[in-house]
Amino acid sequence: MISLIIILVSALSIAALIGLNAWLGGWEPSQVESLDDAAVRLRQDYLAFEPGDGILAKDRRAAIILEKGTGRIGLVAAQGDVLVTRLISPDEISGIEADDRVLALRFRDFTFPNTKFAFEAAENAAEWQARLTGDR
């Protein structure tokens, strides 16, 4: 019975703490400032990463940078107030769809968020879809 009370009170406290955190604020959604910024992040997490061509999403919430000479794809995505990176091979992308200027990516890695890239033009979305699927 005491254990049940502890669990219930803890659950209520958690809800209250999250509410307090949201009410107080004090954080800002993260952004990828530039492709250089994305490359720095990738080099921090993958020491030998050599940046090649890349593209920054229009809303600066994500970036793709290809790794020179390996065919691997460097990803930087905003997650809350932090950035998350991955260095993956094309077969780790489970779904890729271009819809006008938006490229939607899904990954086999269930710990990496599905990511949408909004580009300046529809041709950019189609071009990067082709590059990421190895069609070009």
């Binding site: 958690i14 955190n21 004090g26 932090v82 998350v84 269930f110 710990t111």
Partner: protein
Amino acid sequence: MPDLPDPIQYAIPFFIVLIIAELIYARQTGKAKFEPRDSGASLVMGLGNTIAGIVFAAVGATWLAFLVPYALFDLGWAWYVWIVCFVLDDFVYYWSHRFAHTVRWFWADHVTHHSSQHYNLTTALRQPWFNIFTLKFIWFGAWMILLGFPPAMVAFCGGLNLIYQFWIHTEVIKRLPAPVEAVMNTPSHHRVHHATNPVYLDRNYAGVFIIWDRMFGTFQAELDEEPCRYGIIRNLGTYNPLRIAVHEWWGIVKDVRSAKSFRHALAYIFAPPGWSPDGSRLTTRVIKKQAGVEKPVRTLKATPPDAAPAE
């Protein structure tokens, strides 16, 4: 034998008050970072850990009771036995924690605690749910009982150890007076432990006393020129507590399924995290070697090849 309570249950109200205080202080000064979904994930992980503890408590208790008849001594309940028990329990914690970082089977469980890129008091409560499956209580829980410490005393000291570790998960406190930093695990020492900068990886495993790291060559001081970046090598892009709890276990399953030999399968389970047969992934040791920080350093600006552990 006295009927001792679980000290962690009594500490929960203090945890909540301190988190509120840190939240307000963070908002006013900017000296700590909170994000509601990250905080929520950490707190829910803590609640899940508590529930798992209640559900599986009988398993650990049965194991400890089974060991009692085989104890070498009967050390009793004298006050000085308590002190020795607390210190030795912390020594066992050091090694248990060290293995939790260097053997993937144990890391799959412990990675949960390191999976936030934030470092605040809620991070302290981001704890695993499937601790029981590591069978760690068999390997590491036995020594104290076999020496002759009463199981209830060992469990109580273990609880005190975890309570101590709560308050060191903060960026609010920079450094404490030198004598404290020399002996005790502090926020500064533990920030290093949670950081992914190559120089900080796999350092400062201490629970309460930092002396174990100093004795066994795993101590690294926090460097002013190298701010800590928190999290894990492959940071998580999810706040889903279940995904956080199982992601490394699932990684092991996938790797073992793809293993080309029994030896590789075993290595995927028991080798250090990041091991792969072709070296395409990096272990901490390789990362530190690539970055030229295999040994603890005093400074990153001019590291002599034979640098001694920093004080």
